[in-house]
């Protein structure tokens, strides 16, 4: 474990703390509009205790009003947040589209549970990824991030705040019931480690000179493609936004066909631009540096991090090579993901759904990723996962795989292995 001061923390608590940290780091008042729903309600409960930070918690009449109020608060210069689970996202979809169109910072937290419909409210699942990605009318791209562990909820929600504020966009954070209620030792970060987030409110006109100077709400930052955020109370920047298509730059209603095509592509490009701000992927492939890299990559996202790691360690403990990458950013994908995927012969994507990330990865990178899918409302099992990884290793390397510890030495399929001891054991 890295050195530092530790405490135990659940995912929902880390999320609530991360939201407060996002508020402190950005100087924006936090406004939560939420409707009670399992397993997300604890975030509402926790934040309602912290009004001393200037936090407003609004328990709305329904999911739609929760996000509506959050959008109103964002328009007014707060950090608007709404928290829910999958059924709530379904209800909020039209409003998320409004936030896409109005290009306002907004956080949408989905603590996923078993679905569809009411499904398994107290059980965990990862089946809202495609809903987050595509569940709106029109071309409505939304950045998506997902924490990998309870403690990682803190960092991931801060990253979501950074993206939302910097790029003026709704951001979806996909937690799940396993993370929400699960607990782990968490190294308490130093404040100096937290990102500074600059709301950079617009305070002056941005188009034309002298008497003709105007404020154009859709004149974009060249680097981020973000539009200016001018909040009510700012003189001279009065403007109207809304769900109708906007003319590029001036932001007035536009039905011009070329403008619509341009704006659709620009909104998509803005979300893609976020990838430029992301660090390179961390690829866990212990033999790669010595030219003894794995042929099989296990790619995951969200709460499967723990079971995948445990499964990978079992396979390595048996003496075989396998690489692991875990995604925090699901939209846009990190820029180097395509290159990383192409380095491996086989890609396994374990998910608690029927293959949603696998579908996105296959479509985007044209790689033959294989799914490992269980939707039992329970976390994946490390032993079963190790089996699946082992089968793929056998396939990729043309060998028999024996997953008992040091099995590779016993069956002689791998004469020498670099990773016998260091990573053995340790699954939880």
């Amino acid at each position: 474990m890295p050195t530092g001061t530790y405490r135990n923390i659940t995912g929902n608590l880390a999320l609530a703390y991360g939201l407060i940290a996002g508020s402190v780091q950005s100087g924006l008042k936090l406004f939560l509009g939420s409707y009670p729903i399992t397993p997300a309600s604890d975030i509402l409960h926790e934040l309602s205790k912290h009004k001393a930070f200037g936090v407003t918690t609004f328990q709305a009449e329904d999911e739609i009003a929760g996000i509506g109020a959050a959008i109103g608060a964002s328009f007014s210069g707060s950090l608007g947040v709404t928290t829910t689970s999958g059924p709530g996202i379904a209800l909020k979809s039209e409003s998320i589209g409004l936030a896409v169109m109005t290009e306002l910072p907004l956080l949408v937290v989905d603590v996923q549970r078993g679905g569809p419909s009411t499904g398994l409210p107290t059980k965990t699942e990862q089946a809202d990824l495609l809903q987050a990605m595509f569940g709106r009318n029109g071309e409505a791209p939304v950045p998506i991030v997902a924490p990998r562990s309870p403690g990682d909820c803190f960092d991931t929600v801060l990253e979501a705040v950074r993206i939302a504020v910097t790029y003026r966009t709704p951001v979806m954070l996909l937690s799940d019931g396993y993370l929400a209620n699960g607990s782990e030792p968490w190294r308490i970060p130093e404040l100096s480690e937290l990102p500074e987030i600059d709301p950079a409110f617009a305070d002056s006109t941005n188009h034309g000179e002298g008497d003709g100077a105007e404020f154009w709400p859709y004149l974009r930052d060249e680097q981020t493609l973000a539009r200016p955020w001018a909040i009510p109370g700012t003189p001279g920047l009065e403007h109207r936004i809304g769900g109708l298509e906007k003319g590029d730059g001036h932001g007035n209603i536009s039905y011009d066909p070329a403008n619509h095509d341009f704006m659709v592509r620009t909104r998509a490009a803005k979300v893609e631009r976020i990838a430029e701000s992301l660090p390179p992927l961390e690829v866990d492939d212990p033999g790669a540096d010595e030219g003894n890299g794995a042929k099989v990559l296990v790619l995951g996202w969200g709460s499967t991090y723990g079971p995948i790691g445990a499964g990978v360690r079992r396979v390595r403990a048996a003496g075989y090579q396998v690489a692991q990458v875990h995604l925090r950013h699901l939209n846009p994908f990190p820029r180097d993901l395509g290159d990383v995927l192409k380095r491996y012969d086989k890609i396994l994507i374990p998910e608690m759904n029927l293959g949603q990330l696998a579908m996105l990865v296959r479509a985007r990178y044209l790689v033959d990723a294989v799914g490992y899918n269980h939707v039992r409302g329970l976390p994946l099992k490390a032993a079963e996962l190790a089996e699946a990884i082992g089968n793929l290793v056998a396939d990729a390397e043309g060998i028999e795989v024996d997953l008992t510890p040091h099995g590779a030495l016993r069956d002689g399929s791998l004469a020498s292995s670099a990773t016998l001891d260091a990573t053995s054991g340790g699954e939880s």
Binding site: M1, P2, T3, G4, T5, Y6, R7, N8, Y17, S23, V24, F31, G33, H50, K51, A52, F53, G54, V55, T56, F58, A60, E61, D62, I64, A65, G66, G68, A69, A70, I71, G72, A73, S74, F75, S76, G77, S78, G80, S95, G97, L98, F154, R187, I188, L191, P232, G233, T234, P235, G236, L237, E238, H239, R240, I241, G242, G243, L244, I253
Partner: protein
């Protein structure tokens, strides 16, 4: 679960916390509130009259233009914000009250207005409307009632009369309509009024009272749709019928209407109906079959009990309109949601020491901790 007695904040004016135009600066005019956008309603639409009235009235508030926000949903009326040189959001169908709740709760220095229609407010947005009213969030809701869907070209609305033949109801509508005033009163509204698009003076006076009211003000505006529901409000607009059709409500005044009688007031009036517990219309005068002027109900819009206001609202025709009370039904002071939400934050922060960063550090570092060296 226990309940706690909330401290009662001072009841203030609806716009008291909103910055005003600095002294010495030229007072804004209606033109200053007019945006450069072309108005796109049908010729003859009542929306034009309301827009003109609002543009003409806003300068009277004396507020800084940048501190005024108009929010709308979807429908003909919801294009309203585009035509005003203030901050504005044309949002999605029915949701404007929820968005306005977020604006009003997060900022007390804004004058928040919602522009909505009968379909937007009462059909798809009915839930948000009633909850905004009961919470009493500081905003003014202008409900343009055409009793028809206009933007989607002529289907019946939640205020259309039963039996109405429209594109979607060729054999007549089966829906019983809402009475928006009754609905608002039932939803614990603190300010409920009704006015008419073509009566600019009355409209403006109601707008002024609504803006002054701290809390959710609901103003139903009878409005003609010349294309899809022409003449729906003729009874209250036509010079030949309106004296009989309009039951005017003025706080502290006896409720009298109709042809002027010998005492200079309308020859008809409202009295309490001992049988139903409601109110009824009677002929006022000294004849044996008339009711004495002294017994006519005096309108009390400030009554803490909404029962009489509700009874008066029921005099509105549910079918084709021949008669309707017009004016302020109810205007009572009750703490607002947004003021109280801000007060709780102030209370929670009182006496808390340290910068936000220090307190964040203490928060996340709290509980049982251990050190890994």
């Amino acid at each position: 679960m226990s309940a706690t007695d909330l401290p009662l904040p001072l009841i203030r004016s609806g716009i008291e916390s909103v910055p005003t135009v600095p002294e010495g600066q030229a007072a804004p005019t209606g033109k200053d509130f007019t945006s450069d956008q072309e108005v796109r309603w049908c010729p003859g639409c009542g929306d034009y009259a309301v827009l003109k009235a609002v543009q003409g009235f806003l300068p009277d508030l004396g507020l800084r233009r940048e501190n005024i926000v108009f929010v709308s949903g979807i429908g003909c009326s919801s294009r309203f914000p585009y035509y005003l040189e203030t901050y504005g959001m044309h949002s999605i169908h029915g949701r404007a009250p929820s968005i306005a709740t977020g604006i009003a709760t997060s900022r007390d220095d804004l004058s928040v207005w919602v522009v909505t229609g009968d379909g937007d407010a009462l059909s798809i947005g009915g839930n948000h409307l009633i909850h905004a009213l009961r919470r009493n969030v500081n905003m003014t809701i202008l409900l343009f009632n055409h009793r028809i869907y206009g933007l989607t070209k002529g289907q019946y609305s939640p205020t259309s009369e039963t039996g109405k033949v429209t594109k979607s109801t060729p054999m007549g509508s089966l829906d019983y309509p809402f009475n928006p005033v009754s609905l608002a009163l039932g939803a614990e509204a603190t300010f409920v009024a009704r006015t008419i698009d073509s009566d600019r003076k009355h409209l403006t006076s109601v707008l002024a009272a609504a803006a002054e009211h701290r809390g959710t003000s609901l103003v139903e505006i009878y409005q003609n749709c010349p294309i899809f529901n022409d003449g729906a409000f003729d009874a209250v607009k036509s010079p030949t019928t309106r004296d009989e059709a309009i039951i005017p409500l003025l706080h502290g005044q006896p409720i009298r209407f109709g042809a002027v009688g010998p005492d200079g007031l309308g020859s008809r009036g409202l009295i309490r109906d001992a049988v139903t517990g409601g109110v009824k219309i009677v002929d006022v005068g000294d004849a044996p079959d008339q009711v004495s002027a002294d017994d006519v109900l005096v309108h009390d819009s400030h009554s803490p009990d909404a029962t009489t206001a509700f009874a008066i609202s029921r005099l509105t025709d549910a079918g084709r309109l021949h008669q309707a009370p017009i004016g302020i039904f109810r205007q009572v002071a009750r703490p607002t949601y947004d003021d109280q939400a801000r007060d709780q934050i102030t209370q929670a922060a009182a006496g808390v020491a340290g910068s936000p960063s220090d307190r964040l550090e203490a928060l996340i570092g709290g509980g049982d901790t251990w050190t890994v060296a």
